[in-house]
């Protein structure tokens, strides 16, 4: 007997007899002979518990992780701390091993946790409706794009305007998602001085193209905080749906996107209590106005009445979803990021109103400290002069590849090479989190100074 099978030979004999069969094999009599496997699966023989641990530990050792090296990598995923309370709760098996709460009577606790996620996230997005949930920041943005297409059904001009300054990976995902419905994507450039959107181009393109929506990111792919109110003003005047991809942590410092007039807010929830996990699993935040609720994909948790008239939590508005509406569903999503959304809810409860601001401030201040000190080095320049939150783009006099390599030998992940998107040679996107203390930041500065000398 291998693996996790629970029947012994005697059980099997009795059960087969009950069914009226002689052999296990005869259970599979409907499977035609020509497609039956006549050999064993060519997979490794079973591992003992300790051999499995050894195998995984060895694989893990072949990665260098962010506790071993100083991490100045961002690009949408950040090495933030994860409070112990988050892991303590989500590793509890009542949540971990449960299915989607299709039976609300025995899932009130799970439903409430998901409902609270919606409540807390709505405070961050500034919009009342939050889905529960999209896969990640990239698919949430793509989901929002499809929402625009559905909301603007009468607009036969299936065109989307998209800021060039969104994460390159997000753009790739967006292109994949839009290819199906043949939605065209037109890019809006950035201002080469500020790194912010080129507003003139945005205004012109909106007028010319009559798009179903405009997608942008803030802080954008250069770390620059956009003038969101100005964007939504332009969009609102032209009745174009505005879609923002944001870093939720920035709201510790900034006004909510909803308050600034954004119609659909999306984002990557990883900064809120979710481990890096080499980039997955994470959390797709998706939020909008009440008037667009029927278009939002994914689960929604709400309140209903039980037969005694008492309030209870339940999945609601299911006739939008695939298991009810099938080919007429507004999207195909079924399994989502439920447990990760609960992580972010616990995280937000943990930091609370004051901690959220403190955390955002720390990230901002440390970023400023590093940036200002790097700029004191000879021939090191800032590429854009727009305001940043937790990352910035620096231009170096020498090859960035060499810098990354030399910093790596000093146990520093120096940043992300950024040629592809800023179109300027030898630039690096450098990111800071609260986990880096002054000593770590000074070590980065002195190491770089040495390399550049």
């Amino acid at each position: 007997m291998y693996g996790y099978n629970t029947l012994n030979n005697n059980d099997k004999k009795l059960m087969l007899k009950e069914i009226g069969l002689e052999t296990i094999n005869s259970l599979f009599q409907d499977i035609p002979e020509p497609i039956r496997m006549i050999r064993q699966l060519n997979l490794p023989q079973p591992y003992s518990e300790w051999a499995l641990e050894k195998k995984l530990v060895n694989l893990a050792k072949n990665n260098i992780h962010t506790d071993e090296y100083f991490c100045f990598l961002g690009g949408g995923y950040y090495n933030h701390f994860v409070p112990a309370v988050v892991d303590a709760i989500v590793n509890r098996s009542e949540f971990l091993t449960s299915y989607t709460p299709y039976q609300p009577e025995m899932s009130q606790g799970l439903l409430q946790a998901l409902y609270e996620y919606q409540l807390l996230m709505a405070k961050i997005t500034g919009l009342p409706i939050v889905s529960s949930s999209s896969y990640d920041g990239a698919t949430a943005l793509a989901d929002a794009a499809l929402m625009c297409d559905s909301i603007q059904k009468e607009n036969k001009n299936q065109k989307l305007l998209v800021a060039k300054s969104i994460w390159p990976q997000y753009l790739e995902v967006l292109k994949t998602y839009m290819s199906g419905r043949k939605i065209e994507i037109e890019m809006i450039d950035y201002d080469i001085k500020t790194g912010m959107l080129n507003f003139d181009e945005l205004r012109n393109q909106i007028q010319q193209e009559n798009p179903v929506g405009f997608l942008f990111q803030s802080p954008n792919a250069f770390g620059i905080i956009e003038d969101i109110a100005k964007v939504t003003n332009i969009c609102n005047n032209a009745k174009v749906i505005s879609v923002l991809s944001f870093n939720p942590l920035t709201i510790g410092l900034l006004k909510t996107p909803g308050e600034l007039g954004v119609d659909i807010v999306t984002g990557e929830g990883q900064p809120l209590g979710i481990h890096l996990n080499a980039g997955g699993s994470s959390l797709g935040i998706l939020s909008t106005h009440s008037k667009y609720r029927q278009y939002i994909p994914g689960r929604l948790i709400g309140k209903v009445k039980d037969i005694k008239g008492n309030p209870a939590y339940s999945l609601v508005f299911e006739n939008r979803e695939q298991h009810v509406a099938r080919e007429k569903a507004n999207t195909n999503i079924c399994s989502n990021q439920a447990l990760n959304s609960i992580k972010s809810a616990i995280f937000l409860s943990y930091v609370g109103e004051t901690g959220f601001r403190k955390l955002a401030m720390l990230n901002y201040e440390k970023t400023q400290y590093l940036m200002n000190n790097l700029l004191k080095l000879k021939d090191v320049e800032l590429v854009f002069n727009g305001m940043v939150f937790n990352e910035f783009v620096i231009k170096f006099p020498i090859s960035v590849k060499i810098i990354i390599e030399k910093m790596l030998s000093k146990k520093i992940f120096a940043g992300i090479e950024y040629k592809n998107i800023s179109e300027i040679e030898n630039t690096l996107l450098i990111s800071v989190t609260e986990k880096l203390d002054k000593g770590d930041l000074d070590y980065y500065i002195s190491s770089l100074k040495e390399i550049l000398a």
């Binding site: 007997m1 059960m15 098996s93 009130q108 290819s179 699993s281 209870a312």
Partner: protein, 476 residues
């Protein structure tokens, strides 16, 4: 209702330890869109112990596989091994950043490469991408592959996807989402896909047929060889929805049945926890002629060096950021390695044995809809019950058993004539004893119906809330 975490908020308390002895400047920076100090978001202020108690109490009003039997048909709620959880949280994976220099993630590429190979062998496909985030996401990737293949290779416009009426809702939804027209093939009297209807529907507009085998009715589509021939003769592709793969591991493989593309739900067959709705993972696999269409990157190997390969000429592009749900996939990898080939086959054998045993033992109370052997799940007829199947199964909650799948209460769909069908999937996890106990409880509930029909009609009676009506009206 239990107070929410927001209801528990009080002034001037906090749970956090957020400070830095050097950086303590509380001067707000001058940024456009700054939120003034007196503009509150409305986040709660609670202490750490209050957070722990709040959420611990919420978990006490939830039900996982670890709490008890979970025969939710088509969801494969099997035991989620603890060693997998533990090993998925090793720092080398959990604390790695996706955009680190490639050579600092050799363990990741090797793991991904091996996982792709194992999945390809398990499903009889030639290549896999681990990127899709869930089963439906794997389907979507598959649909985009189909679309791109007809555009790039065949230079044809094919706009129709065929799905069985018993298919998971995600199948037709995925096809529509990508802009295809969906056409539905009905189930015949034997519970199989109506092959005559299929023949009539095949034309040069049909890009693919999406099929689950065994179907969500728990039956193996035994005409699959002929179906594959018909589909391929029509120049169409055959897509395998891997949701029911637990029924066939080591017995037969989608690739051998003639499927060109397939996804697998690791949170079903490969034991990764469902987390109250996710995250799961839905790797998508293809035959060799479609390898170049897979989402990028896939892990590859050159000599002894593992690396992410972005150079697939016809790739559909990315379907999500980064490489897939690595934390989830690690658990599935551990599951494969713990079981080995024999263990996986026994898993399937026991899952099918358990389902058939349950079907036989419940026969008098709930006769099977199709009077024959089933695969990993059995479809039972709730018509002869004196109360509706909906309320009957709600009583199971009082006995600590999760109700099985019914129309609208699970991820499957039954046509109108199966409106009171009950789909039960015990999985290999249940012992003979727990199955016998479950049968006894069914009998007991039947007796309870005779004694006091209203009592059962209003079940459950042991929870914090009473019965919630089907598709209950939302309170806004």
């Amino acid at each position: 209702m239990t107070p929410t975490i927001l209801d528990r908020s009080r002034n001037n308390v906090s749970g956090h330890q957020i400070f830095d002895s050097y950086f303590s400047n509380s001067q707000l920076p001058i940024i456009k869109g700054i939120r003034d100090k007196d503009m509150k978001l409305g986040l709660p202020e609670v202490t750490e112990v209050e957070i722990i108690r709040h959420y611990t109490n919420l978990t006490n009003d939830a039900f996982g596989v670890d709490n008890g039997t979970y025969p939710l048909g088509s969801c494969t709620m099997k035991y989620n091994p603890k060693r997998n959880d533990k090993l998925s949280q090793l720092a080398g994976f959990q604390k790695s950043h996706p955009l680190q220099p490639k050579k600092t993630l050799n363990g990741l590429w090797q793991f991904m490469y091996e996982m792709q190979i194992y999945l390809a062998e398990l499903l009889g496909m030639d290549a896999f991408s681990l990127q899709p985030a869930a089963g439906a996401h794997g389907e979507l990737a598959g649909i985009y592959i189909i679309q791109k293949y007809f555009e790039a290779e065949r230079k044809e416009q094919r706009n129709t996807i065929l799905v069985a009426d018993s298919a998971h809702g995600t199948n037709p939804a995925s096809a529509s989402m990508a802009g295809f027209e969906c056409k539905i093939i009905q189930t015949d009297k034997q519970g199989l896909m109506d092959i005559e209807m299929l023949k009539k529907m095949l034309d040069t507009n049909v890009a693919a047929l999406m099929l689950t085998n065994p179907s969500t009715l728990g039956l193996f589509e035994k005409n699959i060889i002929e179906i594959a021939k018909l589909i391929h003769k029509n120049g169409s592709l055959l897509y395998y929805d891997g949701a029911n793969l637990n029924a066939i591991m080591g017995i037969t493989r989608p690739g051998d049945m003639g499927f060109d593309i397939a996804h697998i739900n690791t949170h079903k067959t490969l034991s990764t926890p469902h987390g109250g709705g996710g995250p799961g993972a839905g790797p998508v696999g293809v035959k060799q002629f479609l390898r170049s269409y897979l989402p990028i990157p896939i892990a590859d190997k050159n000599g002894e060096i593992y690396f992410p390969n972005y150079k697939l000429p016809n790739t559909i592009g990315r379907i999500k950021a980064n490489y897939g749900h690595i934390d989830v996939l690690l658990k599935a990898y551990c599951y494969i390695l713990t079981n080995g080939p024999q263990g996986l086959k026994e898993t399937t054998e026991n899952a099918v044995l358990n389902a058939n045993y349950l079907q036989i033992k419940l026969k008098e109370i709930l006769p099977p809809v199709f009077n024959k052997l089933c695969m990993h799940e059995c479809l039972l007829n709730g018509d002869i019950l004196k109360v509706s199947a909906y309320t009957f199964v709600k009583r199971l909650i009082d006995y600590g058993i999760h109700p099985p799948t019914l129309v609208g209460a699970g991820c499957v769909y039954f046509s109108d004539d199966l409106g009171s069908a009950i789909l039960m999937e015990p999985t290999e996890t249940e012992t003979k004893e727990t199955l016998d106990e479950m049968v006894m409880i069914f009998r007991q509930i039947l007796d309870e119906v005779k004694e006091n029909e209203d009592f059962i009609k209003n079940a459950p009676h042991s929870k914090n809330v009473s019965q919630i009506p089907f598709m209950a009206q939302e309170i806004i």
